[in-house]
């Protein structure tokens, strides 16, 4: 092999580059085979696990459901069933109870937190026109301070019945969700903050406020879409 290394005559160079080519192609084939094998072997299980994890989160924010379907928001503001793979789309997860009745919807939202982007899921119940649950999907908030948004019971209680009622003409939310300082909550559409996690808790309030202002009117008007998605025959 060392003979080939030095710059040599034409035939010799040819032979060595042929050998290189064969080696690279050979390794490439082995590698491709291994990758595809492991991908195919684990694909099914990974999808099941991911769906399970998502279901768990959706069940947490919309109480009393046992089934969920994914929808994505189109550019025209309508909802269509989706496989949930396109991450650039806004996704919502409709929840149904055992008798296939549409109970509520989990909405994915994200925004700027203290340390990085926060990704959350919150539940909306069109019947009572309230936010009924909240769950953090992804956060890098400071442990012990900012991550109170996931654990602080008083803060989480904000999202048991947060009013997002619509105006008469259903075009927008009557009183947008706004964050306030800890202990200053007087109206049912205000989110009480956490002292010591001011920015993180305010961020959650803002994310929900911004997202609900856009999504809630759309969802409210299209309840039929979610309803008919699971039992197409019922009217």
């Amino acid at each position: 092999m060392s003979a080939n290394k030095t710059i040599s005559t034409q035939p010799n160079t040819n032979a060595s580059s042929k050998k290189m080519l064969i080696a690279m192609v050979g390794i490439g084939v082995i590698c491709a085979l291994l990758i595809v094998l492991s991908y195919e072997g684990t694909k099914e299980r990974i999808e099941i696990l991911k769906a399970e994890a998502l279901e768990k989160a959706v069940f947490k924010v919309v109480p009393g459901i046992s089934k969920t379907r994914i929808f994505e928001l189109t550019a025209e503001g309508t909802f269509v069933p989706s496989d949930g793979k396109d991450r650039s789309k806004t996704l919502v997860y409709a929840g149904y109870d055992e008798t296939d009745v549409f109970k509520g919807i989990a909405i994915e939202a994200s925004g700027q937190g203290y340390a990085d982007i926060l990704r959350i899921l919150y539940g909306y119940d069109p019947e009572t026109q309230t936010v009924v649950g909240f769950y953090v999907l992804e956060s890098k908030e400071t442990p012990g301070l900012g991550d109170k948004i996931e654990k602080d019971e008083d803060f989480l209680a904000n999202f048991n019945a947060l009013t997002v009622a619509l105006t008469e003409d259903l075009s927008k939310i009557q009183n947008p969700v706004v964050p306030v300082k800890e202990g200053k909550k007087v109206n049912p559409w205000e989110v009480d903050g956490i002292t010591g996690a001011t920015i993180s808790s305010r961020a959650i309030g803002n994310i929900i406020g911004e997202s609900s202002a856009k999504m809630v009117p759309l969802i409210y008007k299209q309840q039929e879409v979610f309803n008919s998605a699971i039992n197409p025959t019922s009217k």
Partner: protein, 211 residues
């Protein structure tokens, strides 16, 4: 502190040595200071550290075996490219395997699984050892180095989790009143803990040199 696992090895003394050196004398983290990025990044809890260590060890062992068995087949000019290709393959496999085991674990380790590809430890073992030695020796070398890496990661992860969260493997070991040292699970804690371990190692080495 010397591991006792070596006794059940059937190989001769020189092979045993290939194995032990990675664990202690040439420990990849504490002595060679290689592959620092994952060491610091995912060692904020014992379980993350252990999973990351095992994933790295697996890639190290498999790539060492494959590189060593192909060592007479790979031309010298393209060897680094071939090694990277082989390593990337095994990393992709590990990535899917971890996803199949636990989505949560995969989320915690995040991109750092993929980043095993550029862990200098693996490439340096392929280049410095596996490309020149038999399959058996390379496998032993990788096993030693891999376990040394796991050991080092675990040392860091355990310290950081115990002090930073008051728990080990998720079990609380301190009473409620324990005030967590939050700094230990923050990035800065990673630097400090590693500095502490290296300090202990240096101290030990200096003492030994004096004696």
């Amino acid at each position: 502190m010397t591991p006792t696992k070596t006794t059940d090895l059937k190989a001769g003394p020189s092979s045993t040595d290939e194995f032990i050196k990675g664990l202690w004398r040439e420990n990849p983290v504490f002595v060679q200071v290689l592959g620092m990025c994952p060491v610091l990044a995912v060692s904020n809890s014992a379980i993350n550290a252990l999973a990351m260590g095992l994933a790295t060890a697996f890639v190290l062992i498999m790539s060492n075996i494959l590189v060593s068995s192909l060592r007479n087949f790979i031309p010298k000019q393209v060897r680094i490219a071939s090694y990277i290709l082989i390593i990337a393959t095994f990393v992709t496999m590990v990535d899917y395997a971890i996803q199949a085991i636990s989505v949560d674990l995969h989320k915690n380790l995040g991109a750092f699984i993929s980043l095993i590809v550029v862990n200098c430890l693996i490439l340096s073992r392929a280049e410095a050892f596996a490309s020149k030695n038999t399959i058996g020796k390379s496998a032993l070398d990788a096993l030693g180095m891999g376990l040394g890496f796991v050991f080092a990661l675990f040392c860091l992860g355990a310290v950081r989790e115990i002090l930073g969260n008051g728990s080990i493997f998720g079990f609380m070991i301190f009473p409620e009143s324990f005030q967590e040292w939050i700094i230990m699970i923050l990035p800065a804690g990673g630097f400090f803990t590693l500095a502490l371990w290296l300090f202990l190692f240096n101290n030990y080495k200096l003492k030994k040199a004096k004696a």
